[in-house]
């Protein structure tokens, strides 16, 4: 018989009271775990979204907007003085004094075409640059492609010769080496499915025949719905030669001042609207930090309430055990032995509370995440979070056990045994 055995046997005997104590801890710990996990996933989600626009600065044509009111009914964003960007703007950017800060320049043009009574978006860009900015772009797996895994011979507009495109592969490296120029196009996952097209198929757009050289994996981004092609081919197809809708820039902030570069761009291209994604994301970061602070505050409050529940319930349990503690004292247990028994009980319940709290918190996270952020994000089961949950639970349990343990030492064994 050891003090630990006594403590464990008492836990087993007072299972309902111990369950109540456990509940106090589980609620506190699971709240902390779920708040922490959800906030972490929201951060990941935000980071993913920002990095999806691997470009951290986007240039668009500046347009005037005006809202009209007709008897209280608003017609917003009526555009006027619509300006256009051109490929010449790229040359202007290339000559900026701080050009060295710009890692990637990716001009883009967008247009809408109708195929089989469906509106489809055509996106023209320098695809090599675009891929450099979007590392998550991957081709669909061979096994995902229902037929024609071999690409049919396609015509290269570069030299007018037929070349055989390489067999599709899954790796990104091979994606970047695909011959995406001229009449070769890539399809987003959704548009490919909607048009029932596979790699190697041909697609007629405005009378021109294009060859599908690859289909992208689904990314839950706008590219899923787009036909991607070289910018020159897109400008030609859309009948808008030299036009650019968007210029995405990948800036390297370590090479100079972001503000100076943006000021240079504004001076060189006064009719261009500059959107700084990094600053926008920093703003989101601040919002998330505030949310984190709020979450932590709520968690601490719940944890304190949980601690109070544990302390009160354990104190009540100690009072119930007055006679038992009196017996222990009478047969030679020191006060420190009684304290140890109470603390061991608190420790075991806390460890169990930490484990169950972690599992419950993660379960809440799994349920809540799809409602709050991107479905594609998976909840990570961090072992260190489990250890942290247990450690926190043990600290809370130990703190909450101190009062009842102290109470136990103050019990008069004489009164406890009703000697008098």
């Amino acid at each position: 018989m050891t003090l630990m055995q006594i403590a464990l046997k008492n836990i087993r005997r007072r299972i309902s009271k111990m369950t109540f104590i456990l509940l106090g801890l589980v609620i506190g710990i699971s709240t902390i775990v779920s708040v922490y996990s959800i906030l972490e996933i929201m951060k990941t989600d935000m980071t993913k979204h920002v990095s999806e626009y691997g470009a951290n600065t986007v240039l668009t044509a500046d347009t005037g907007e005006i809202a009209f009111t007709y008897g209280g009914i608003n017609i917003p964003e009526v555009l006027y003085d619509v300006k256009k960007m051109t490929m010449e703007d790229i040359s202007v950017i290339d000559q900026l004094p701080l050009r060295s800060m710009i890692r990637v320049i990716s001009p883009k043009i967008f247009g809408v075409l109708q195929i089989k009574e469906q509106n489809v978006i055509v996106s023209g860009s320098d695809l090599k640059s675009d891929f450099a900015l979007k590392p998550w772009f991957k081709l669909k797996n061979d096994s995902d492609i229902t037929n024609n895994s071999e690409i049919a011979p396609t015509e290269s507009t570069e030299d007018g010769e037929y070349v055989e495109a390489p067999k599709l592969d899954l790796t990104r490296m091979e994606l970047t080496s695909l011959p995406i120029f001229g009449s070769n196009i890539l399809l987003g996952a959704v548009i490919a499915q909607n048009l029932d097209l596979n790699t190697g198929d041909s697609l007629e757009l405005n009378g021109q025949v294009f060859s599908v050289v690859g289909i992208l994996q689904e990314n839950a981004t706008q590219e899923d719905y787009q036909i991607l092609m070289d910018i020159a081919a897109a400008q030609d197809l859309l009948g808008r030669p030299g036009e650019v809708n968007v210029i995405e820039l990948g800036l390297d902030y370590s090479l100079g001042s972001e503000d100076i570069l943006l000021a240079q761009i504004k001076t060189a291209l006064p009719e261009v609207k500059i959107t700084n994604l990094r600053k926008a994301s920093l703003g989101q970061d601040e919002m998330l930090s505030n949310l984190t602070r709020f979450g932590v505050s709520v968690s601490i409050l719940i944890l304190l309430i949980g601690m109070l529940v544990v302390a009160l319930t354990m104190s009540a349990a100690v009072r119930e055990r007055t006679r038992e503690i009196g017996i222990f004292r009478a047969i030679g247990f020191r006060k420190s032995h009684i304290v140890k028994i109470i603390l061991i009980e608190g420790f075991f319940i806390s460890v169990i509370g930490g484990i169950i709290g972690y599992i419950t918190g993660m379960a809440v996270t799994i349920i809540a995440v799809p409602l709050l952020v991107d479905n594609s994000l998976t909840v990570q089961w961090h072992p260190w979070l489990l250890l942290a949950a247990i450690a926190l639970s043990v600290i809370i349990g130990a703190l909450a056990s101190l009062y009842p343990a102290n109470l136990a030492t103050k019990l008069d064994p004489v009164i406890a045994l009703r000697f008098i």
């Binding site: 018989m1 050891t2 003090l3 055995q5 006594i6 046997k9 008492n10 087993r12 005997r13 006679r323 038992e324 017996i327 222990f328 004292r329 009478a330 047969i331 030679g332 247990f333 020191r334 006060k335 420190s336 032995h337 064994p413 004489v414 045994l417 009703r418 000697f419 008098i420």
Partner: protein, 244 residues
């Protein structure tokens, strides 16, 4: 005259009740030699249980000393007094006072919990005393699975497992029928014959026949059986067997 094992020296105990002093013990002196068995009789409220709790190191007297085996009990720190109880005293409480969630064997092993004996020795000692009280077969039963007399035997086994020189018993047959009570008193008698000193509080006159000596408490003072008053001044004490 043999050297006393227990010296109760002019013990007084006063409680506050509703702001007034209540003198429960008014000056008790008694010497008890090793191997004695003493029954302390008295009506409820006479102070006998208070005396027992003071003797057990659980309840410091207002004045006076308790010396057991040359150790002044209330000169010890609280923690040392706990150790003293474990090594020198075996308690048998009213209504058995077994721990309900521990088996008979585990209850008996309780006083050994805080000792340095190995688990094997603790088990051997507990089984030995359970054998001695005739309950080895019931060692794995919980208290609520035992009859009253069996529970009392477990309580006695728990009191003697540490091999203390002194047993303090408080109304050990109070909750038992006559037959079971007699068998328990037989057991106490056997323990006394084996050399244990026993001090028993009881208000059952039948129990006194199993004890070598009987004293009576009345109004906080000690009286010998059939004597009107036992003076507590040391210089006029008379010797009655082992009781001085």
């Amino acid at each position: 005259m043999p050297k006393p094992l227990i010296i109760i020296d002019n013990i007084k105990k006063t409680y506050k009740s509703n702001g007034e002093d209540v003198n429960v013990l008014k000056g008790i002196s008694l010497n008890i030699c090793k191997g004695e068995s003493v029954a302390i009789m008295g009506q409820s409220g006479s102070g006998k249980s208070t005396l027992l709790s003071i003797l057990g190191g659980l309840n410091p007297p207002t004045t006076g000393r308790i010396i057991i085996d040359d150790i002044d009990l209330y000169n010890l720190s609280q923690e040392k007094r706990s150790d003293f109880r474990r090594e020198y005293l075996g308690f048998v409480f009213q209504q058995f006072q077994l721990i309900p969630y521990l088996t008979a064997l585990e209850n008996v092993m309780l006083p050994l919990t805080t000792t340095n004996y190995s688990a094997k020795i603790k088990l051997e000692k507990a089984e030995k005393v359970l054998e001695q009280v005739g309950l080895i077969e019931a060692r794995h039963r919980l208290p609520n699975q035992l009859a009253g007399g069996e529970q009392e035997r477990v309580a006695i086994a728990r009191a003697i497992v540490n091999e203390p020189p002194l047993i303090l018993a408080d109304e050990p047959t109070g909750s038992l029928d006559t037959k079971t009570g007699n068998s328990i008193m037989d057991l106490f008698q056997e323990l006394n014959e084996s050399g244990l000193t026993i001090l028993m509080v009881t208000h059952n006159p039948r129990n006194t026949s199993y004890m070598k000596q009987t004293v009576t408490m009345k109004d906080g003072l000690l009286r010998l059986e059939n004597e009107d008053f036992l003076p507590n001044e040391p210089d006029i004490k008379a010797m009655y067997g082992g009781i001085v």
